[in-house]
Every structure is written in structure tokens, then in C-alpha cells.
Amino acid sequence: MSDLEDLYREIILDHYRSPRNRGELETPPAHRAEGFNPLCGDEIVVYLELDDESAGEDAVVSQVRIGGQGCSISQSSASMMSAAIVGKTVAEVRELTRSFKAMMSIHEGELDGDEAMPTGQPGESLGDLEALRGVVKFPVRIKCATLSWNTLAEGIEEALAD
């Protein structure tokens, strides 16, 4: 079961069983974005609060909460993401998102191939998120891992659009 153990690293199961930043934030001031994975019915709700929305890319993520329900991969990815982005600027969050998606070797819409090769160069800053690297061996699960990140991106756009 080596592939399987690679997919379900202990840290993933830990985040799944004890999700970080679980809950809701009042909107406003927070922004709420909702994401669905139509493949498996997973739902992620991201509540995002920036310290100063007018600062644009320099605005800092002051609080984040995660709601919804889903599989261990989608939920642990959301949990790790929430832990990783608090205190970061929007620009830094975007960079982290790029690194994460590079690790997932995700270029939106390119999920048709059987083999998703881990070609990306994740930055040093991925930390715990590195544990999700095993997901690329299971292409249908990549969307589970990226669901919260795509939802976060929507939340950021909404926050900055105001």
C-alpha cells in the first residue's frame, strides 16, 4: 500500500481529524466564497478577512475560517491552507497558491491525461503542504486538493473588488 500511504500521510489524516480554523466569520467584514467539487460532492466554504482591503496586493490576511464537508484530501488541504495563509499578504498568498498548484502540476483544465507528473518546483514555503505531494499519483484526487485554493482565490478577488 505504498502509494496509498503516500497519499494518506499522517499529517494529512491529522488535519482531517483535527481541522484548523474550522468555523465561520461574520460577513462583512469577512468575505465568504463557496467551492464545489462536482466529482465527489465536496463543498468548501472559505471565510476570509483582510486587515486593509484598500492595500490591494499588500493587504494582510488577518483571519480565515473553513466550512463545508468532504473527503480527507479536500478537508486537510483546506485546513493546511488556512494555517499557512494567516499573516501573509495577498501577494504572498498568490505566490503560495502558485507553488502549491505547481506541486499539484495543475494547469487548469489539463486533467485529462492518465499521468500527472510532478513537474512543478514547489517553493521552500510549502511546509506541511508538501505532504499533499502524493496526491499527484491519483489524478482524480487533484481537484480535491485544489478545491480550497480555488475557493480562496475567489474570496480574494471578491475582497479586493469591493
Binding site: M1, D3, L4, L7, Y8, E10, L13, L39, C40, G41, D42, E43, Q69, G70, C71, S72, I73, F138, R141, C144
Partner: protein, 418 residues
């Protein structure tokens, strides 16, 4: 649940082991435990060879050509149409329209019959068991036409709540109904509902995707007005399905797709649509697929649909009993408790393991089940879950497959308890 031990159970009217020998996939993927036939069945060699033979010996475009080859292709396709119509108890094969799949068949009903007959003030009744294919086309049309959609809810045991049926059907023009839930396997009392709908002046559009492959179907006995079903869930190829409807209803329906094949005459001023079934089959049809679909029906008839149904009730009974005995409260089986009230579909929750994670671990043992909402989100909402793990069986499955599913569930339980 029926309390019969395996020893006391009646003999299986099918021989799954012999049947498996007809399906090349099982030889090519040794050890596979395929429990996802509700999504799509495997194909017997008879169907594969019929399609190969058609391409190697009989292929040309159908209709309207004088040469022998075109006649052969036409005969192959129309012969399949007759046999498929006969399979569902229809005597007039012109009432059987080939479509891309059951989804297209249901869209055809909505876009043609629905668009011509539904408007503001009208109502369509659906059940909470429906697949999205029998929900969304009506919602799309309702958004344009302004009619109301009413719902028949479910009882606690996953069967339809018929207590308020007359009020729900009052003034409705159509009842959209599944003949077997693709999630819980629930089989509604179709004839009772059809009679009630007709008494209210509503037509009945039956989604037979799950039922037609798995039990005898007779449109006259069921007394429905429309029946949609798909080839690929009943041993036939993908890319083809069928809509059956009563002749007088079809003759009053405007064509759905326009183009070649569906006209009697075209001038600069307009067109006159062809008769049935060509009226609803614009463009070159899926000829080889129709041939394969016909071969699939022949294959199932050689087994006997009564036998198929009896085999699946036995297997469902075995699965519900053996898995409950083995896992107790760790397993929740959704839907009716009585195996004969359900098809060969079992949606379950296993401990607190998410269905997507469960199926991933089962895959490690080559056990193929399907996690997700199964295109039935209103039903998921009723069940109070985002997804279920669904195992489904067919003619080639046996109790050994159920035991292997149980072994895999046990392994999954161990894996996630680390």
C-alpha cells in the same frame, strides 16, 4: 431484513461464473471486483462482435440508398429497433426513438413535448429520488416557460411519501418519475403512480435507466407515456439510448433536432417533418451502436429478465445481511430494508470514512465502487450526506464479490484507524 442463511437461499437462477466468461474485460483484468454497473455495465463478447461484424460486413449510411449494402445497414439498425422495442413490451417499433443516451431522451421530452405543452400556471411533478437528468431539463424549461415544479418527498425508509399524492398531482401536466433510484435502489410503485397521474390528467415520463437493465419492463403494464433508458447500462455500447413514447403523443410533438433524415420535404419556405421514428432522429444515427444495443437486448433475453431480477434480489439480500452481520453499526445502508423493494444498488456509509477516501482504499484491492452524489443531489440532501459510497451489481457478480467488498471495507477500516 429477510432472515435466510446462504444455505437456505434458493439457487441462483443465473450462473455468474459462466456469464463472466462472456465478458472479455474480466479475463483482461484479472482479479477485478467490478461493483459499479449502475454507472455503466461491462460488455459481453456477443455485443462487441456484433458491432465488429457490422463494421466489417454491413456498414454504409442507412436509408435512402438503392444498393444492397445500404439495405443491409438499414436492416441491421431497424432489426435492432424492433428487438429493443419488443424488450420493453412495445408492439410498434416506430415508437422507439434512438437518442444519444437516456439524458438526451429526457431532454427530448422536455424540449419537444414540454415546450409545446407547458406554460405559466402549469405544473410538473418530480420525486426526490430523481437523477439530475430528470430534474434539470424540467428546471431549464420552467425558467423559460414559468411553470411550477412540485416534489414528492420521501418517507423515513427511503420510499416515496404518497400521503399527499392527490394534492400534489392536482392540475399537473406531467409526472417525472424514476423506475429505480440509482442511489438507494428504491423501486417506487410505478403503476399506482401512473394511475394517479392519469386520473389527474398528467402524463408520466419514466426514467428507466436503472430498471430496464435489471428487471422485466412492459410499457403497457406500467401504462407510462414516456420511457427513457440507456444502452450502456445494459451490456450495450455507450453513445446510444432510447426514448419510447405512445405513437399519438409522438405524432403531436414537434421535432427536437432539425437536419437531414427528419424531414419529408424542405423548401425555401419551410419543411414538413418526417413520420416516426425518423422525425426525431436528425442526422446519421449511431448505427453500429444500435446494432450493439440490439445484441445486448438479445443477450439479456437469453438469460431471462425474470432471472436477472431474481439473481439481483438474492445478491442484494446477501449483501445487506452479510455486511450488516460483519460490521454492525459501522455500516449504514441507505434505502429500503427489504431487498425485493430495491434494485441491485447499495449506497452506504462506512464508519466515518468519507466515500471518496473509502473508494480510494478499496481500489487498492481492485474493488470498484463509486463515491459521490451520483447526480442526485436532492436525494443526498434528504439522506443528509454530501456523498455516499455506492456498490452495484449485475448479472456477472456473485456472493464472492460481496465478500471481497467486505474484506476491502475491513481493510479500509484498519487503514484509517491507524
Amino acid at each position: 431484513m429477510a432472515d435466510i442463511s446462504v444455505k437456505d437461499a434458493p439457487a441462483d437462477p443465473l450462473s455468474p461464473e459462466e456469464i463472466r466468461a462472456d465478458f472479455p474485460l474480466f479475463a483482461n483484468r484479472e482479479g477485478i471486483v467490478f461493483l459499479d454497473s449502475a454507472a455503466s455495465s461491462q460488455k459481453p463478447i456477443q455485443v462487441i462482435e456484433a458491432m465488429d461484424h457490422y463494421y466489417a460486413f454491413d456498414h454504409s449510411n442507412v436509408h435512402r440508398a438503392a444498393y444492397d449494402l445500404a439495405e443491409a445497414a438499414t436492416n441491421d439498425m431497424e432489426g435492432a429497433r424492433r428487438r429493443i422495442a419488443g424488450f420493453i413490451g412495445a408492439t410498434d417499433s416506430a415508437e422507439l426513438i434512438f437518442t444519444k443516451n437516456a439524458t438526451e431522451a429526457l431532454n427530448l421530452v422536455a424540449r419537444s413535448w414540454g415546450a409545446a405543452n407547458l406554460g405559466a400556471g402549469d405544473a410538473v411533478v418530480l420525486t426526490q429520488l430523481e437523477h439530475h437528468a430528470n430534474i434539470v431539463p424540467w428546471q431549464q424549461l420552467a425558467a423559460e416557460k414559468g411553470f411550477e415544479i412540485r416534489w414528492i418527498d420521501l418517507d423515513e425508509d427511503g420510499t416515496l411519501d404518497l400521503s399527499d399524492l392527490d394534492r400534489i398531482l392536482d392540475g399537473a401536466k406531467l409526472l417525472g418519475l424514476t423506475a429505480m433510484s440509482n442511489v438507494t435502489g428504491t423501486i417506487p410503485p410505478i403503476r399506482l403512480l401512473t394511475d394517479a397521474a392519469h386520473a389527474s390528467g398528467a402524463l408520466v415520463c419514466l426514467d428507466g435507466c436503472q430498471s430496464v437493465p435489471h428487471m422485466p419492463t412492459d410499457v403497457k403494464e406500467l401504462d407510462v407515456d414516456f420511457l427513457a433508458f440507456s444502452s450502456h447500462k445494459m451490456c450495450g455500447p455507450t453513445g446510444i439510448g432510447a426514448l419510447w413514447a405512445r405513437r399519438h403523443i409522438l405524432e403531436d410533438m414537434p421535432p427536437f433536432l432539425g437536419g437531414g433524415g427528419m424531414i419529408l420535404d424542405v423548401s425555401r419556405d419551410g419543411f414538413i417533418p418526417a413520420g416516426l421514428p425518423a422525425r426525431f432522429e436528425a442526422g446519421t444515427p449511431a448505427i453500429a451502436e444500435a446494432v450493439g444495443f440490439g445484441a445486448a437486448v438479445d443477450y439479456l433475453e437469453s438469460l431471462g429478465m425474470e432471472n436477472v431480477r431474481a439473481h439481483e434480489i438474492q445478491l442484494t439480500s446477501y449483501a445487506m445481511r452479510s455486511l450488516t452481520e460483519r460490521f454492525g453499526s459501522d455500516i449504514t445502508i441507505h434505502g429500503p430494508a427489504e431487498p425485493d423493494q430495491r434494485g441491485g444498488v447499495m449506497s452506504m456509509a462506512f464508519r466515518d470514512i468519507h466515500p471518496h477516501d473509502l473508494s480510494q482504499v478499496l481500489n487498492q484491492r481492485h474493488v470498484c465502487i463509486r463515491p459521490g452524489h451520483h447526480c442526485a443531489k436532492p436525494l443526498m440532501k434528504y439522506l443528509g450526506v454530501g456523498a455516499t459510497a455506492r456498490a452495484s451489481w449485475y448479472i456477472y457478480n456473485d456472493t464472492n464479490d460481496i465478500d471481497l467488498l467486505g474484506d476491502a471495507l475491513e481493510a479500509a477500516g484498519e487503514f484509517f484507524s491507524i
